[in-house]
Structure formats: C-alpha cells, structure tokens
C-alpha cells in the first residue's frame, strides 16, 4: 500500500549548527510547498500523458493476452505520475534518462511515438529497436533515453556513467536514473551512490517504490524501507515524495534538479507509488489482497486525483471524455500498427551485432 508522505521532522538545530543540514534541506523545501503550480495547459498535458500511459499499458496487457506480445511484459499502471511528473521537468535534448525493464511509461512520457513502442512490444520491424529488444530493451538516443535495461539495478551505474558524461562535457545536463524498491537492494546501486557523491555527479536517483519487489513486500526484503534515507551514508540528500500525485512529483523534481544543476551532486528521491497489475503479465499477484489494490485505485489513483482537480477548476466531464476518446484513438492506432507491421526480415538476424566490420 502506498505510504502516506512522512510527517514533518522536528528540527532541533538551525541549519548553521547542523552540518547534516544538506541531507534534509531538499525535503524541507518540499514540505514548505508540496505541489507544483501548474498552468491549466500543464495540468491538461499531465492528464493526457498519464492517461496515454494507462490506456497504452491496458492495451499492451490485452495484446499480451492475445499472444501478440511475448516473454516478459511489465506494466506501469498505477505509477504514471512518477514518470510524467519528473520528466516534464527535464530540459529536452539535454538531460538523459535511464530506467529498468518497466520502461514503457518513461518512453511515453517523453512523447515518443506510441506506435513504435507498441510495435517493439509485438516484435515487429517497425519497433523502436527493430524488434530485437522487446518490452525491456527500448532506447531513444534522439530523446536521450538510454533504456530499458533488464538486469535489476544495472541502469543505476549506467546512469552514473551518463551523469559522468554530462559532467565531463560540462553541458549542464543531468541524468535521471530510475529504479525500483527491489533494485534498491542491489550492491551496485550503492557503489554508484558512493562515486556519484564523491565526484558530485549530476544525477537524480529515483526509487519508484511500488511496494513490491516482484512478489516480496518491501518490509520483507528491506531493513530500511524508507528508501530516501539510504543515501545518508554517502551524504546524498533524500526526498520522500508522494508518487501518486503528479504535482508533488513535479515539485520535487524542480527542487532536486535545481540542487543538482548547481553542481551540488546527486539527490536520492523516493517516489511512493503502487503497481496495480502483477510484477509482469504472468504474475497472479497472490501476495496481496484484492481489497488493497482496490483501495489504492479508489482513493489514491493519480489520474483520478488530477481529474478531480481539473473538474474543480472548471473543466467539464465532457472535456475530459473528449481527451479520453482521443487517447483511446491514439492507442488503438498504435495497437493496429503494431499488429499489422511485419516481423523483421530474417536477414536482420546478424545485423547490429557489431557496429564495425573487421
């Protein structure tokens, strides 16, 4: 179950007295102002993007059920606010993003054409990886999206390398490296945090805590379940964010990115969220109750939350329905495209193994 955001910590010392102040300063900034002041246009954009991810993933689940998508397929349903909130704050064409295998949402949040993503899921020539990568291995160097990695935690040190490249080139960019609460227990994550802090790399580590590492609840796998605290050993400031609220995620992104861009080194952000579906398509999710899932859906859903806000701000049900209709159309077109594109030529079997000829 998604954790409620932590209460305000009692501060006993002034920042000047407290040498560890920096470790808490970002969280304090967030607690002063939790939600981003989005314009109407931005709110609608967030809504559309989250809805696109939701509908896309539902359709992906359906295509999986029809045998059109094979292997592993990890859906992002429930976690939409995290990718949308964070990536909307990035500088396009400058900052880089890397994530694990639950990557469809991050690509969609980039505005990458849903058609080529869906066609990759169905293993077609028109897929973004020419059908060779599949659900877990998608990349768009054009958008500085570096995957899409299937080995739990590997993307974190690779992200450290992307951050090193930003620093090396002095281009002012940062790397956003996502990983789950499961990956948060991998050793290389901490190896990377150590070096990132040591070298003040421009990287934001984002733990998408969806409460379950495959079938293991965080409390059964993690001695410290408050993941945002785990950077403390490396003097990396942590932020505890409600990942079910796109405006809070966006606000946290503003604070974290500013810190990193000032050359102050990495930030560790925990976004508390929830995955509605199983870990992958073949997970019956028997490790939690239906009521638990239903409770999050009814009370914390990121899309419903934003919808409520939009209605309060004067949008009509019809306006939102029209958006939903448009999104369904986009997703249907993507699915049709993915279903009707040809599979790769057999001749592609041996291409792209190496770049050069020897």
């Amino acid at each position: 179950m998604a954790k409620a955001p932590k209460g305000k910590k009692t501060k006993t010392k002034s920042p000047a007295e407290d040498q560890d102040f920096v470790l808490h300063s970002l969280q304090e900034a967030l607690e002063k102002k939790r939600r981003f002041d989005a314009s109407e246009e931005q709110l609608l954009h967030f809504y559309e993007q989250m809805l696109l991810i939701r509908r896309f993933e539902e359709r992906a689940g359906q295509l999986y059920g029809l045998g059109l998508i094979g292997g592993f397929c990890h859906l992002y349903i429930g976690q939409e606010a995290v990718a949308v909130g964070l990536q909307s704050a990035l500088t396009e064409g400058l900052d880089s993003v890397i994530t694990g295998y639950r990557d469809h949402g991050h690509m969609l949040a980039y505005g990458i054409d849903p058609k080529v993503i869906m066609a990759e899921l169905t293993g077609r020539e028109a897929g973004i990886s020419k059908g060779k990568g599949g659900s877990m291995h998608m990349f768009s160097t054009e958008h500085k999206f570096y995957g899409g990695h299937g080995i739990v935690g590997a993307q974190v040190s690779l992200g450290g390398g992307l951050a090193l490249a930003h620093q090396y080139n002095d281009d002012g960019g940062l790397c956003l490296a996502y990983f789950g609460d499961g990956a948060a227990n991998q050793g290389q994550v901490y190896e990377t945090m150590n070096m990132a802090a040591l070298w003040k790399l421009p990287i934001v580590f984002v733990v998408e805590n969806n409460q379950y590492a495959m079938g293991t609840a965080v409390g059964r796998s993690s001695a410290e379940t408050e993941f945002y605290r785990r950077g403390t050993a490396f003097r990396i400031p942590g932020m505890d964010v409600n990942g079910m609220d796109v405006l809070e995620v966006r606000q946290a992104a503003e604070i974290a990115f500013a810190h990193v861009r000032e050359g102050k080194g990495p930030v560790l952000m925990e976004c508390n969220t929830y995955r509605y579906r199983g870990h992958s398509m073949s997970d019956p999710a028997k490790y939690r109750t239906r009521e638990e899932v239903q409770d999050v859906r009814e009370h914390k859903d990121p899309i419903e939350g934003l919808k409520k806000l939009l209605l309060e701000q004067g949008k009509s049900e019809d306006d939102l329905k029209a958006i939903d209709k448009d999104i369904r159309k986009i997703v249907s077109e993507a699915a049709d495209f993915a279903e009707n594109s040809p599979e790769p030529e057999p001749g592609e079997l041996y291409t792209d193994v190496l770049v050069e000829e020897y």
């Binding site: 539902e58 689940g61 999986y64 059920g65 029809l66 045998g67 059109l68 094979g70 592993f72 880089s96 890397i98 169905t122 293993g123 897929g127 973004i128 990886s129 020419k130 060779k132 990568g133 291995h137 990349f139 768009s140 160097t141 570096y146 995957g147 899409g148 990695h149 299937g150 080995i151 590997a154 040190s157 690779l158 450290g160 390398g161 992307l162 490249a165 090396y168 080139n169 050793g187 290389q188 190896e191 990377t192 070096m195 073949s282 019956p284 999710a285 028997k286 239906r290 009707n340 594109s341 599979e343 030529e345 001749g347 041996y350 792209d352 193994v353 190496l354 770049v355 000829e357 020897y358």
Partner: protein, 461 residues
C-alpha cells in the same frame, strides 16, 4: 461495435486454461480495470481484467469449463449505445488463428533474403612499415601507455578510469605519467568497486565518451562481468543499432606468479564466446600499442587482455606517427612449412621458443599469433593449416571450452581435408592454479610441452 472478449494468455507458455469463475454477469456494466473472470492455468489462478468499457453481453463459455484454448471468444461486450441483449455470438468457429509469437514471420511476404553472417574483411592488413623506419625497444607496459596517450591526445573524449590509475601511476604502472599529462578529469582514480565503475564506464560510453576502464586484473572483472556482457556487448543489438557502446575494458589477464587460484585465470575464452564483444590479447609491444589504438577507436566494446608477466618484456616498436593495427587479424610470427603452432598472449613467446628448439631438430614450425580472439581470424589459421597440414594450439589457460577447443572445431569443420594428424592442444592443467612453486610449474603450459606435442603431430616422437 460489440467487442469480443477472448481467452487470454496469462504467461508466455500458456496454451489453454480453465474458466474458473465469472465475476461479472450478463448485463453488468463494465469499466476498464474491472475483474471480469478468474482463469486457472497450470501454475496459478489469474484475474482477467477488462480493458474496454461497456455492458457484458453474452457469456459464451460457462464457468468451470476446462481446456479453453487461448484466443477463444469467451464473451461479448456491448459498447456505448448498444443493446447488450441483442448481441449475438460471432458466427465464426472457435478455431484459433496462428499467433505471431510463434515466429511464423507474420505480416511479411515470404522472402528469399538469406541470413548472411558477416564476412571477415580481406582488405585490411598491418600498415606498411616503410623501409628505413627506425625502431625503438619498448616494454609492453610502455607501449600500452603510449597507445593510450596518443589516443588521448587525438580525441578529447578518451579518458582512463580504474583503481590506482592516476596518483599511484597504475598498480602495474601501465598508466604511468598519464595523470601528469592529462589531469584528474581524464585519468580518474576509482574506489575498489568494480561492478559500479564498470557500469559507470559503460554508461559514459553510451553517453558519447570513449572510456578506457582498467581492471587491476581481470580476476576482479568477474564482479563486473554483468556490465561487460549484459550492458556493453548487447546494447547495439538490443537497440537495433541505435545505441553504441565504445568502451575498452583492459587489464592483466591470465596466470601471474605465485598468486594462487583466485588471482590467476585466463578469461579469454569467456569473453570470446560473447557476440557483440571484441576481444584482443596481444603479445609483443608493437601489437600492444597498435591494437590498443585500434581498440580505443573502435565503435564496439572491446575487452583488451594484457599479461602481467609480459609487461616488462621489451620489443621493437616502429617509430611511426600513427601505428594502428587492424582488429581481427592474426599475425604470422615465424614462417614455417612443417607444422603450425597457434598461440596468443604469453603463449606466443613459448611457441616461438619451441619453434627455435624444433628447428634444431629439423622441424620447421610456423607460429601464428591470433592477437584478436573475437572475431577470430579463421582464414589465417586455415591458410596455415593448408600449408603445413599439422596444427598445435598453445594456450595459457584451461583446456576445457578454450580458444584451443574453438581452433580445433574450426580445423575439423573447415580444414578437415588438410589434416595429416589430429589437431592437438597444449594448455594449462585442468586445476585451479596452486600456490606451491613446484605445483604451479606443473600446472602451467611450458615450452617442452609444446615441443612434445609438435613432435607428436609430426609423428617424430
């Protein structure tokens, strides 16, 4: 338009299942996310979730039905404005069409396009060393450093990272002087954290830099092998050629001296088995320099295997401005006509010694240095075999699943008609390397063993 609800596949291998229970009944309103039914597979009971909205029309498969094939229409869903009770079951039979996941080339016309494996280039060879070129005796250690330094001068994106590479000047002094010339931005000391810094180096390559990642020895690279193989080697393929990873992983490999089992192992065969990697293992100084430069310039990830025992040996290096060697090309170290000895890295030295000794006994051995283990220069091996009809492989490493095994397979598959004797391998003994001096000596390949093997294939023993 009514929507057909089909029996879903809930795992990659599911072909049929039991429709255990309907949780919605005919006439029920359904919104996306509702659980419509429970389906049992051989592994678990799964929930069947609605994607579309509407009213549940006809239920076509009753609950409790076993053996429902994936893709069977199990119910109809009426969309907005449709009368659910009026929906008929689809006229079509329940026959299941082929699904694309079965690899049947769906949607594409049958094509004659052949699957062609990449052919080795035949238009590349070592650069001509012009007549009158002077040579400088250079240690392998210095040659490697010179190769790196030249490339760092040439390309700002090239940098070195690893344990003790900067202030300490390299655990084996291979990076000596680089910090002074290039500064700490480009010569980076890392903590002892191989998995992490191999990942950072690999990520930096993805981000457009040209990292040289030094492992103090390749024994420690086992902690990082995931990044070498899963992150570096596979990226270009998995991304359909979109994302390159031009990183060089380098360091000493193979047995050193008296450091026992955990610090003495040849990983050449491990890396050489991985598509997507280039694996280089030079022997002398000129090759070390020329191939190091080529490795750094390559757009592909390179594993560059050096040898601690060879670092201090001195060989002539041509005094040329830009001495870059081709990757994937073996080198004939000594021409001969009676037998071929194929070797790489430190074993080349042993093979040359053996050849000298054999010459005294009237056996004229050709010695081939593979230099690159992947892609392996099959043509060079087979051409020499065609000439000598006898072949021995000398490898400082375990015999099982070795480069030697691979060379034997190549000779059997493509050189069988040229063989006058069984291809024979001379490797280390098949044991973890012992510490005791006498046992270590017993375990490692040496010149007498190569001499014996050559005599055997020449039927001279």
């Amino acid at each position: 338009m009514a929507i057909e609800l089909k029996m879903p596949a809930l795992s990659p291998t599911m072909e049929e299942g039991t429709l255990a229970k309907w949780l919605k009944q005919e006439g029920d309103e359904i919104v996306a996310g509702d659980i419509i039914a429970e389906i049992e597979t051989d592994k678990a009971t799964m929930e069947f979730e609605a994607v579309d909205e509407g009213t549940l029309g006809k239920i076509l498969v009753e609950e409790g039905t076993e053996g429902v094939k994936v893709g069977t229409v199990i119910a109809m869903l009426a969309g907005e404005g449709e009368d659910a009770s009026a929906i008929e079951a689809p006229a079509a039979s329940n026959e299941i069409e082929d699904v694309p996941g079965e690899g049947k080339d769906v949607g594409r016309e049958p094509s004659e396009a052949e699957i062609t494996k990449p052919k080795a280039r035949t238009d590349v060879r070592d650069p001509e060393v012009p007549e009158g070129t002077s040579f400088t005796a250079t240690s392998v250690r210095e040659a490697l450093r010179d190769g790196m330094a030249e490339e760092m001068r040439r390309d700002d994106r090239v940098f070195v990272m690893g344990e003790e590479v900067a202030e300490y000047q390299g655990a084996y002094k291979v990076t000596q002087g680089l910090l002074d010339e290039f500064g700490p931005k480009r010569v980076i000391d890392t903590p002892i954290t191989e998995y992490g810094f191999a990942g950072i180096g690999t990520g930096a390559a993805m981000g457009g830099l040209r990292p040289i990642v030094e492992f103090m020895t390749f024994n420690f690279a086992m902690q990082a092998i995931d990044h070498i193989i899963n992150s570096a080697a596979k990226t270009n393929y998995m991304s359909g050629g979109q994302m390159r990873c031009p990183v060089v992983f380098r360091g000493p490999n193979g047995a050193a001296s008296r450091v026992a089992a955990q610090h003495s192992q040849n990983f050449g065969p491990w890396y050489a088995s991985v598509p997507g990697l280039i694996v280089i293992a030079p022997y002398d100084s000129a090759d070390a320099k020329g191939l190091m430069k080529a490795a750094i310039r390559s757009e592909d990830p390179v594993v560059f295997l050096e040898n601690e025992l060879v670092y201090g040996r001195s060989f002539d290096v041509p005094d040329m401005d830009d001495y870059v060697l081709p990757i994937g090309k073996a080198r004939i170290m000594r021409e001969g006509s009676d037998v071929t000895i194929v070797a790489y890295s430190i074993a080349v030295g042993l093979a040359l010694e053996a050849a000298d000794e054999l010459a005294g006994e009237g056996i004229n051995a050709e010695v081939i240095d593979l230099r690159t283990l992947r892609p392996l220069d099959k043509e060079a091996v087979l051409a020499s075999l065609a000439k000598t009809n006898r072949l021995v492989i000398a490898e400082e490493g375990w015999p099982t699943c070795s480069i030697a095994s691979e060379i034997i397979a190549i000779c059997m598959e493509d050189g069988f008609d040229h063989l006058d004797a069984p291809v024979t391998r001379v490797c280390d003994e098949d044991v973890p390397l012992p510490y005791a001096a006498n046992l270590e000596k017993l375990a490692l390949i040496d010149t007498p063993r190569i001499v014996d093997a050559v005599k055997k294939v020449c039927y001279r023993d």
